[in-house]
Amino acid sequence: MNQAQTSSFEIVAREDFSDVTYLLEVRHPMLAKAAKAGQFVIVMEHEQGERIPLTIADFDREKGTFTLVIQAVGKTTREMQQNCRVGTSLYAVVGPMGIPSVIAHKKKVVCVGGGLGVAPIFPQARAWKESGAYVIGVLGFRNRGLVFWEDKFRACCDELILCTDDGSAGVKGLVTEGIRLAIEKHPDIEELVAIGPPVMMKGCAEATRPHKIKTMVSLNPVMVDGTGMCGGCRVKIGETVKFACVDGPDFDGHLVDFDDLTARLSRYKPAEKEASARYEESCRIRGDEALAQASASLVDDRPSADA
């Protein structure tokens, strides 16, 4: 009893939200028990894979599972999209990592999720709700067809503002439009939490700066070990340099140097491109034309709804 589970991380459920976004529910009772809002895991799909950090999108202590929502944007995430089926297992999962989000006593908070940040903002919204706060959810999607987890968010948010690029659901515009509406209606917002691509989080921080609303953002830079050992995830916070893996991942959005973050996220772009190209080629060789075409069409795609 009570032993860490250190091999065979079985996938117990999978759901595909769109042709790029998919959900994996993974069995790991100890992790499900330990996880708190704002933390992440590092996953290796197979022995020769890379270690990728993914924010925990949900955890169920009773079932002993945790949930990841992944966007297939690079070689690893696309390979996982193809290989991770119910009943298969991940080679390695380590976590929960990072300092949990501080869920202090606040009366009114806004939780903003955009693109790949929609799912990870869910545990925060739920935690805030459980702490007794009035929670306003702001979620950004490209269009109506990509909306997911609306019910889950409605269950833990007192208000939910959907934003779509084309206006096909909720408000037309970016999440910053939703934030503007929320602030207009509620001048007493005490804190805003945002997860999404750097450009989106930067937009959120700029939207709240004039109102002096405390804004926390969750950073997801390039990592290897996730334990503070490699320093690959260092980020500029005001005048200081922090390691997102052990000093974060949550930081004060008004102090984060987002341009630095964006530049550093592109460090391995050429290698990533090469890996993706090779992966497509191998898919083609395997005769899986349909998948290869689908993969190819992703390359020029915008990485997220709000980028």
Binding site: M30, Q48, V94, D225, G228, M229, G232, V246
Partner: protein, 501 residues
């Protein structure tokens, strides 16, 4: 023993070890030093005077009976040599390769006073490698004592502590955050210095002692140190997590792309096998002109790895002179052989980027040595007006590490000012039953020092657990005159239940 050897009768020349040719090896990850052949080891073993003084034993952080194991080699009783080594040192293949012998056993060798010292490290490696090749392992019959011991960190400190506690009869579980055990031996030290196959063989021996390795476990976050004691049923815990939080200098341009820590470079290349990209998925943008800051062993590793990854020019920048370089003499020598350019007495002051935020040059300043500082080394001072630039597309910081904050964040362990774990002389921490040793206590040190700390903590833990009982089943039918068996000295026999098969 036959006639007493004297300095005049022993072979005068230190037996050279065969090495891969520098021009060839600089492009592959195969081991540089090929190790002694049998006949070479026999010649070198003859060089040990078997002096009464035994300064080498005192020079060894774990106190290996060095003349004893060398004598066994000379007698061609290789298994006997292995028995003596493993009495005190669990990993002879590892330590024979990576210990800084010139500052330890070999540095004080009596032969070394008039000739080159006995090549103790090479002999140790010879015996360790022979044991792996022949499949020797000294596995005692261990009577379980019912105590459970948790070890945090599967690096050298944790491995050494685990072995001692397992031999004492405890059920031992070793946790590690990475997906493979070995710690710095795996992620840090490159294959050409310490092949992963050697580490795996040593870890397999630990498994045969009954030690269980649980990887993918970030202690502190998955469960806390306190929970290990209060909920998970561990009677004692050892923390050997290493320092693991690389330092940077705080000069402009450090966040440019192409600037990274030696830990990141080495982890990507060694543990994650980025050198075999794209067969392995982890990328590592190889630099053409790599500049490494620092001159410790990690810096040497980073430079030599860069060379093997295809760099055209690799430059070392160090603010002091070659004499003060903290790396092992052999490592600096190997790096020079392989064509690394050394810029001694040089300090970087700024990293300059191009339009795409990638590093393109390092601005440096020349230094000269002034008065000695608190470390006793002469303090480098800037030479005014000596600024110059080095063209570079990859800058690697290898200037040391700070304390990893995770356990401090998640437990009530008392830390010192610099964030390292505070311990008493027995390596006990501020939490009862919790011990710590290695880099997380002392700051960055060597593999053998970490192993020494792991063993020292094990002694403290055994005393804490009261592993002393009258029902001892030890049978002292050992051929070792000192009575030492499986690393347990004779005076500690009543602390352990060991029975020889």
């Amino acid at each position: 023993m036959a006639k007493k050897k004297t300095i005049r009768t022993i072979p005068q020349e230190r037996t050279p070890v065969r090495e891969q040719d520098p021009t060839v090896r600089a492009r592959n990850f195969d081991e540089v030093s090929l190790g002694y052949r049998l006949e070479e080891a026999l010649v070198e073993a003859e060089r040990c005077l078997q002096c009464a003084d035994e300064p080498c034993v005192r020079g060894c952080p774990v106190g290996i009976d060095i003349p004893g194991f060398i004598q066994k080699i000379a007698e061609k009783h290789y298994h006997g040599a292995y028995d003596i080594l493993t009495d005190t040192n669990l990993l002879p293949s590892v330590c024979g390769r990576v210990c800084p012998q010139e500052n330890q056993c070999e540095g004080v060798c009596t032969v070394g006073e008039s000739l080159e010292p006995v090549a103790i490290g090479r002999l140790e490696r010879f015996v360790g490698d022979m044991a792996i090749k022949e499949g020797w392992a000294n596995i005692p019959y261990i009577e379980p004592n019912g105590y459970r011991v948790g070890i945090v960190g599967a690096g050298p400190a944790g491995m050494a502590c685990a072995a001692d506690m397992a031999k004492a009869g405890c059920e031992v579980v070793v946790y590690d955050a990475l997906h493979e055990p070995g710690g710095v031996l795996k992620y840090g030290i490159p294959d050409f210095r310490l092949p992963n196959t050697v580490i795996d063989a040593e870890i397999e021996k630990l498994r045969r002692l009954g030690i269980r390795f649980e990887c993918n476990t970030l202690v502190g976050r998955l469960f806390t140190i306190e929970q290990m004691i209060t909920e998970m049923g561990f009677h004692a815990v050892f923390i050997g997590t290493g320092a693991g939080y690389p330092s940077f200098m705080g000069i402009p341009g450090e966040s440019l792309n192409g600037v990274l820590s030696a830990n990141e470079l080495l982890t990507r290349a060694n543990l994650m096998r980025a050198r075999d990209f794209p067969k392995y998925d982890t990328p590592l943008q190889p630099g053409k002109r790599v500049t490494v800051i620092g001159a410790g062993n990690t810096a040497m590793d980073a430079m030599r790895v860069s060379l093997r990854l295809g760099a055209e020019k690799v430059t070392c920048v160090y603010r002091r002179s070659k004499t003060e370089a903290p790396a092992r003499v052999e490592e600096v020598h190997h790096a020079e052989q392989e064509g690394i350019a050394f810029n001694w007495l040089t300090s970087p002051i700024e990293l300059i980027g191009d339009a795409s935020k990638a590093v393109r040059a390092m601005r440096c300043v020349r230094m000269e040595l002034g008065e000695p500082d608190e470390s006793g080394r002469r303090r480098p001072v800037t030479v005014p007006g000596s600024e110059f630039e080095i063209e570079t597309d990859m800058v690697v910081f290898a200037i040391g590490t700070n304390a990893n904050p995770i356990l401090g964040q998640t437990s009530k362990l008392r830390l010192n000012k610099r964030g390292y774990i505070e311990t008493d002389d027995s390596l006990a921490t501020s939490i009862a039953g919790v011990y710590a040793g290695g880099d997380i206590v002392t700051g960055a040190a060597t593999v053998i020092q970490a192993m020494g700390a792991g063993r020292k903590a094990a002694r403290g833990m055994k005393a804490y657990l009261g592993l002393r009982d009258t029902d001892c089943v030890y049978q002292p039918d050992t051929d070792d005159p000192s009575g030492m068996r499986f690393g347990i000295p004779v005076e500690e026999h009543n602390f352990a239940r060991i029975r020889l098969r």
